[in-house]
């Protein structure tokens, strides 16, 4: 299952990963090899087999509707490069 250069370029863009045009053929090729490898799974007949969602038999845990966190604005903003007046600030994004 070969991945075209256009597809590789699009995937990189959607993932917001900067890839130089000259790097694209190698990346497309590598991704194709990975996809081909995974393709082997399609050879297995899984008719009637329930999808396995957990390795151990367990159910989804739920939490109570209680407020126990938050109120730590300074901590939340401490890694932000440009905190401003309690906000994160980012290069302008306007529709």
């Amino acid at each position: 299952m070969g991945l075209s250069l256009d597809e590789a370029r699009k995937v990189a863009h959607l993932a917001r990963i900067h890839v130089e045009e000259r790097e694209l053929p190698d990346i497309a090729n590598e991704l194709s090899v990975i996809l081909d490898f995974m393709e082997q799974l399609n050879e297995v007949d899984i008719e009637g087999v329930e999808p396995m969602t957990s390795v151990t038999p367990m159910k989804l845990r739920l939490r109570k509707d209680k407020v126990t966190t938050g109120g730590e604005k300074d901590l939340i903003l401490s890694n932000a490069p440009l905190p401003e007046q309690g906000f994160f600030s980012v290069p302008k994004v306007v529709e």
Binding site: R63, D65, T69, E84, V90, V93
Partner: protein, 493 residues
């Protein structure tokens, strides 16, 4: 709801070549009423200082894992049951991947393939007996995004993550709506039902009820669905109607010019009254959904659903039917009374052992009228159901006239107190003693000989004497008796 009801007419756009029918479907985003967020334990309180209701899960710090809030699930189930929908005992959370500054995870946790709630229905009544059934396609749970503010700094956008991670129900309808008015009525009906259920506040200004509106047009009589456009993020029913009108007419123009409508996302600008393409959204549509590996499927015990079902209150449609049946109020009055649950509750406290139509009339015209004028809610009413009930009793027993009752209402409204006592203290009772009414009438006739002469030539002038009697008694004479006795006396002269 009754099957003999009629469907509303579609809104038709008369083009140069064809008549076109509007086809509308809505995706309504309703913020769930809960204390904590969908997958974290931070607060959902609106209007607090920026980034104060944010924890490490909301900020998507490395290694943080989502844990589902049980109550949010219950609220979505409750909403589903209120919309007569199937509840899926097996549902799955998926990741919807896109990059935006107010979405720190880089994906929104949502439900694409296995939503929590399946097919349901809503009825909207546009006028008495004219009802549209709107099918709900599904409802799923998902996370809300944060808020970006673009107008504080010239070159930066400011991001507040307080809203990030609050639970949203996305309620997806089939394309069953046929006019802008129906679309607005549908949102208001959903809002009303959710407010009855207590699952969404429906405050559109604060953005806790918003809609994406899908619009297409087709030649009248066609069953085909033509290409639709999606108008994003609308939070006003007025603008929704304007946007649908503009968009449908735009599409008719394109089809009639021999063009093709492109499926795209559009934005409505209330300033220009136009919709415009949001090109940037198009490529972002490649969301690469996949099951969220941090969350197991949500499996729901049928007993839980039944427990929730047992706690569903009487909903507006049933309540309205019952008010009409039980108290004989009109269809219109019933609509006004059920608009908010608290209004209907107040009415039902007033109407006990009393005339339903009179009670509805006073609750709607006097009470709601005064509340609106003062900008008060029913909970802030200075008049209690008991006080209003006493006023109604005084009217029904003929002890005060309707006009005096309005004065009494105003006194109770501003001063409070027991209506019975006030009527006695201020001598507001109606004079129903025939003897004294008769003597007042004779007084009036004696004082106005010229009017009596005029009356003899034109019997229509009897009203003058009634007015004088009322004036003399400060409006307290029983008007029915005054008319009867006056007629008798005038016949003698």
């Amino acid at each position: 709801m009754d099957t003999k009801l009629r469907e509303p007419e579609s809104k038709i756009i008369v083009g140069t070549k064809d008549n076109w029918e509007m086809v509308i479907g809505l995706e309504v985003h309703a913020q769930v009423v809960s204390n904590a967020k969908l997958f974290s334990s931070s607060s959902t309180t609106f209007g607090t200082s920026p980034n104060s209701n944010v924890d490490f899960v909301d900020a998507a710090m490395p290694g943080m894992l989502p844990v589902l809030n049980e109550f949010c699930v219950e609220q979505a189930i409750k909403t589903g049951l209120g919309l007569k929908a199937e509840i899926n005992t097996y549902s799955v959370f998926d990741r919807k991947n896109y990059f935006y500054p107010d979405l720190p995870q880089g994906y929104q946790i949502s439900q694409l393939y296995h939503p929590l709630v399946g097919e349901g229905e809503v009825f909207i009544e546009l006028e008495p007996g004219v009802v549209r059934r709107v099918r709900i396609e599904h409802i799923h749970l998902e996370q809300d995004a944060g808020k970006s503010l673009h107008d504080i700094h010239p070159s930066f956008s400011y991001v507040d993550l307080n809203r990030t991670g609050i639970a949203l129900m996305e309620i997806v309808s089939h394309p069953d709506l046929r006019s802008p008015e129906e679309a607005a009525a549908y949102i208001l009906k959903l809002r009303q039902i959710m407010r009855y259920l207590g699952t969404c506040d429906g405050n559109m200004q604060n953005g806790n009820l918003r809609a994406d509106v899908n619009v297409s047009v087709r030649p009248q009589g066609s069953d085909e669905l033509y290409t639709r456009c999606e108008i994003k993020n609308m939070n006003s029913t007025r603008f929704i109607q304007q946007a649908i009108d503009f968009e449908a007419n735009r599409q008719v123009g394109i089809w009639e010019d021999g063009g093709t409508v492109l499926q795209e996302t559009r934005l409505y600008d209330p300033g220009t009254g136009k919709t415009r393409s949001m090109r940037s959204k198009e490529e972002a549509h490649d969301y690469r959904y996949f099951p969220c590996p941090d969350l197991l499927p949500l499996e729901i015990e049928p007993e839980w659903i039944e427990r929730i079902r047992d706690n569903i209150p009487e909903l507006p449609d049933e309540l309205k039917d019952r008010l009409i049946r039980q108290y004989g109020v009109s269809n219109y009055d019933a609509d006004v009374l059920v608009s908010e649950k608290e209004n209907a509750e107040f009415f039902e406290q007033v109407v006990i052992n009393r005339n339903g139509k009179l009670a509805a009339n006073w609750v709607i015209n006097e009470l709601f009228g005064s509340l609106n004028k003062e900008g008060l809610t029913i909970k802030e009413s200075p008049i209690s159901p008991e006080q209003l009930g006493s006023i109604l009793d005084l009217i029904e027993n003929g002890e005060i006239s309707g006009k005096i009752a309005k004065n009494l209402f105003e006194i109770i409204w501003s001063e409070g107190g027991d209506p019975l006592k006030i009527v006695d203290e201020r001598q507001m009772r109606q004079v129903s003693d025939t003897g004294s009414i008769e003597s007042i009438i004779r007084e009036v006739l004696a004082e106005n000989p010229s009017q009596v002469e005029k009356y003899k030539k034109n019997p229509k002038l009897a009203g003058f004497f009634v007015g004088q009697v009322m004036k003399k008694t400060a409006g307290k004479a029983n008007p029915k008796l005054v008319n009867e006795i006056l007629e008798k006396i005038l016949a003698e002269i």
